[in-house]
């Protein structure tokens, strides 16, 4: 009995090697940065980092599911802009109730996600192409709607969701944690979660299993759009305005978090916990480098190296497995 427990522990370590190594790297950073900057490890800064990664983490939750499904969603960055400007516009241009406007912003994300899902599940057009198209459409529409300049909203209420606090906890961090937990529940404790792994791992087998492949695909892309809509509203709230350039390249940060977290780009395998660690690594790195006054161009270089390293560790691990 004891032996099998040891085996289980060993297997757990083997399975989660990428995450464990990532946590070790994090721990090292947490001990190195304080030496160079006094503000790094404070509670305030911890929440600061969490708030900075909150929008990326929302996107990354949806993106993890999409990638496990064997797809990709490039549209989420542009959806941030479109849902942000539209929610802001509803308040400042049409004088709508702030919460209603925010709900409309989130719904815009959901609609674009549903559109992606509809096309991808009904045709054989690659997800890359479909979401590349909606990425451009959404970005373009944000510019058309705003004429290129931010849509301002002056209201305390408006700012609460993006910049407010409950006690010492920033609101976007709370939202991120809640949605992370919901996403984990979906993946681990529902049938649809298992079906996502099935479709991504072997679509033909999923069909033979009687799984409605198109329904699963539709739901996952819709969920990803919903998360992007929510992220857009939060960002617009924090910036007191909907900006047509918001979320530029955000889809790539989300993909980076997913990949650093050990999810397979070819689908069928991955964990949301890994994505959280991935988002944390990227967030803490850029925060730490910021505090060290490293210029932003070098920060981008470091981000690239981290992605390569993470994938390389995975590659080595798989190489050993296949022997």
């Amino acid at each position: 009995m004891k032996k099998s427990n040891n085996m289980k522990a060993l297997n757990f370590f083997k399975e989660n090697m990428g995450i464990i190594i990532a946590l070790l790297v994090l721990a090292i950073f947490l001990t190195v940065f304080p030496a160079t900057s006094s503000s790094f490890p404070t509670t305030k800064n911890v929440f600061n980092v969490l708030r900075q990664i909150s929008t990326n983490m929302l996107l990354a939750c949806g993106m993890t599911m999409v990638i496990i499904l064997g797809g990709i969603d490039l549209s989420v960055g542009s959806v941030i802009a479109l849902s942000g400007v539209f929610a802001a516009g509803c308040v400042s241009r049409y004088g709508m109730n702030i919460y209603l406007a925010m709900i409309i912003g989130v719904l815009i994300g959901l609609i674009i996600g549903a559109f992606n899902g509809f096309v991808i599940s009904r045709t054989t057009i690659p997800p890359f192409i479909v979401t590349l198209a909606t990425m451009n459409i959404a970005r373009g529409l944000s510019g058309v709607y705003t004429g290129g300049s931010p849509v301002r909203v002056v209201s305390k209420e408006w700012q609460w969701i993006g910049a407010g606090y409950v006690g010492i906890f920033p609101v976007p961090v709370i939202i991120m944690i809640i949605l992370f937990i919901i996403s984990v529940l979906i993946m681990n404790r529902t049938k649809i979660g298992r079906y996502i792994y099935a479709v991504g791992g072997n679509t033909l087998a999923a069909k033979f299993s009687g799984i409605s492949v198109s329904k699963v695909k539709f739901m996952v892309y819709t969920y990803s759009g919903l998360m992007a809509g929510l992220a857009g509203v939060i960002l617009a709230s924090r910036m007191y305005s909907g900006q047509p350039t918001a979320g530029d390249g955000a889809e790539m940060d989300a993909i980076a978090a997913v990949v650093v977290g050990g999810t397979s780009m070819s689908g069928g395998y991955g964990k949301l916990g890994g994505t959280l660690v991935g988002a944390l690594i990227i967030g803490i790195l850029s925060n730490g480098l910021n505090l060290m006054n490293v210029n932003s161009f070098w920060q981008t270089v470091v981000k690239g190296i981290v992605i390569l390293l993470a994938v390389f560790i995975d590659y080595i691990r798989n190489l050993k497995k296949s022997k």
Binding site: T190, R194, Y197, G201, A205, K207, F208, G210, S212, G268
Partner: protein
């Protein structure tokens, strides 16, 4: 016809993990003859051809061409020795023209330039000479399958091969084109080319072949002159193995019809298929590859869109639009190809066993892990699956154990009707006999089984009745007492 030996393959052996695909096979081809290679599915014909074509390297044995020993390690070596192979599957580039395909890899032109007009002219001339009505500038993707096959043949002819291998070249072309193909073959043999001809169609042998060699279970059985033999002799050479005794089967015939299928149609793959399955019965579906057996079962299981026909389960007419409906009606289908159609290779045994029965332990955001483990363990025990743990990733198991997990997955749904498509393909003898035992237990407990198999011994020993299919149709039904390899092959061969 000169008696000079063009090709001699001596004591060729080739093993794959767990299977001896070729065991000391001998084969001889004379210049100017058409030599048929005959055998059941899995007899080793294709492996032998792939050794000759440099796709597989041989473990033991020698290949001589015109008396000289040669070593064929790659496709390149094969073409250097003037060997051309027309494979059963088409290997043309759809987005290229006919001419470009014919000269692929040996384009006309100097340096990096390609002289397309010259290629088109040359290809056009060859096509004309062969009497083929194909424009060399047409894109291959615009041609019907039959014409693509003719392009493939033209390509092989155009390299001026001395040894030409044709693997079922007539499987997808019309009678008129077959006539033309035979004419081309006769012209080639007059020039001294030796042709190895693989076909399941006995009638073609008499028409075009001079000699025939038979293979069985990876072994060479013998060679006959076509004029001095007949269909019956060849069939008994193909199937004449002694049967092993690991089949377990208690026959207890019943009268209740569990499944009745009437006039099932699916495009041109399944034509007017009707049959009956009784409670506690195993019915076998025999036939050659491509006879439409798997397609018929997939149509019943709701995996195809354009299915016409009536399905009755326990006397009631049912509408099955998708696999979900099929499962609800007590059907289960273990597909032919485990890896492509069945397994989630990155996931563990637990996941792979329970994917059809998630309702039993996932409710209201709660996973009852104890129940999940119980279900998994039940089918590991029932199937005697060998594994260190339930968390073992299924991709790391042997083929036999993977198949046991697949069958367990579908047994977990408590099916009334279990369809097994090639249940023992590519698995070892021990696992095979265990699967037979389980099948016998299942029918004793009232489950009814449909088994598609290309292994005649297992069809013969396990089935109450055998339906034989060919070209999408049921050619006949043979009762248990009359089942023999000869009776099946007589119906399966076209």
């Amino acid at each position: 016809m000169a008696d000079n030996i063009l090709l001699r393959m001596k004591n060729i052996s080739k093993s794959f993990p767990g299977v001896k695909a070729l065991d000391k096979v001998n084969f001889e081809l004379k210049a100017g003859e058409v030599h048929a290679l005959l055998g059941e599915n899995g007899a080793g014909k294709s492996t032998l051809i792939k050794v000759l074509g440099g796709i597989y390297s041989l473990d033991e044995g020698e290949i001589e061409i015109e008396g000289k020993k040669v070593s064929i390690e790659s496709v390149h070596d094969a073409s250097k020795n003037n060997i051309a192979i027309i494979h059963q599957e088409l290997v043309l580039v759809p987005y290229m023209s006919v001419a470009e395909n014919i000269y692929l890899g040996r384009e006309s032109g100097k340096g990096f330039s390609v002289n397309i007009s010259k290629m088109e002219k040359d290809a056009g001339k060859i096509l004309d000479d062969l009497g083929m009505d194909i424009d060399s500038r047409e894109l291959v993707m615009n041609l019907p399958i039959a014409k693509q096959q003719m392009v493939e043949i033209t390509k092989a002819v155009s390299v001026n091969a001395k040894i030409l291998v044709m693997d079922e070249p007539t499987s997808s072309i019309s009678d008129r084109e077959v006539e033309n193909l035979f004419k081309i073959m006769r012209d080639l043999t007059k020039k001294g080319v030796g042709i190895i001809y693989i076909s399941h169609k006995m009638s073609e042998l008499e028409e075009i072949c001079d000699r025939v060699s038979v293979m069985r279970d990876g072994e060479y059985v013998g060679t006959k002159v076509v004029k001095e033999t007949d269909k019956d002799e060849l069939i008994s050479m193909m199937v004449g193995r002694t049967l092993t005794n690991y089949y377990v089967r208690d026959f207890m015939p019943t009268k209740d019809v569990v499944l009745k299928v009437e006039n099932l149609k699916d495009g041109d793959k399944v034509k007017n298929v009707s049959f009956e399955l009784r409670k506690g019965e195993i019915i076998g579906f025999a036939g050659l590859v491509g006879a439409g057996r798997s397609e018929a079962m997939q149509a019943i299981f709701g995996l195809s869109k354009d299915v016409v026909g009536d399905i009755y389960i326990e006397g009631k007419k049912v509408g099955i639009k998708n696999p979900k409906d099929a499962i609800k009606n007590g059907l289960a289908l273990v597909p032919e190809s485990r890896k492509e159609q069945g397994l989630y290779l990155l996931q563990d045994i637990k996941y792979n066993t329970t994917i059809e029965v998630l309702d039993e332990f996932i409710k209201n955001l709660n996973v009852n892990s104890k129940k999940e483990t119980e279900i998994t363990q039940k089918y590991i025990d029932m199937m005697a699956t060998k594994t260190p743990s339930q968390e073992q990733v299924i991709g790391n198991l042997s083929g036999g154990n993977q198949q046991k997990v697949m069958i367990g997955r579908w047994l977990a749904t408590n099916p009334k009707i279990l369809i097994l498509d090639e249940p023992t393909r590519g698995i070892d003898v021990g696992a095979k006999s265990e699967i037979y035992k389980i099948m016998n237990e299942l029918v004793k407990n009232g489950v009814s089984i449909i088994m598609i198999s290309s292994e005649l011994p297992e069809i013969i020993n396990m089935s109450d009745r055998v339906y034989v299919m060919a070209a999408g149709m049921i050619r006949g039904c043979i009762d248990h007492k009359e089942i023999s390899q000869e009776s099946i092959m007589a119906l399966a061969a076209i």
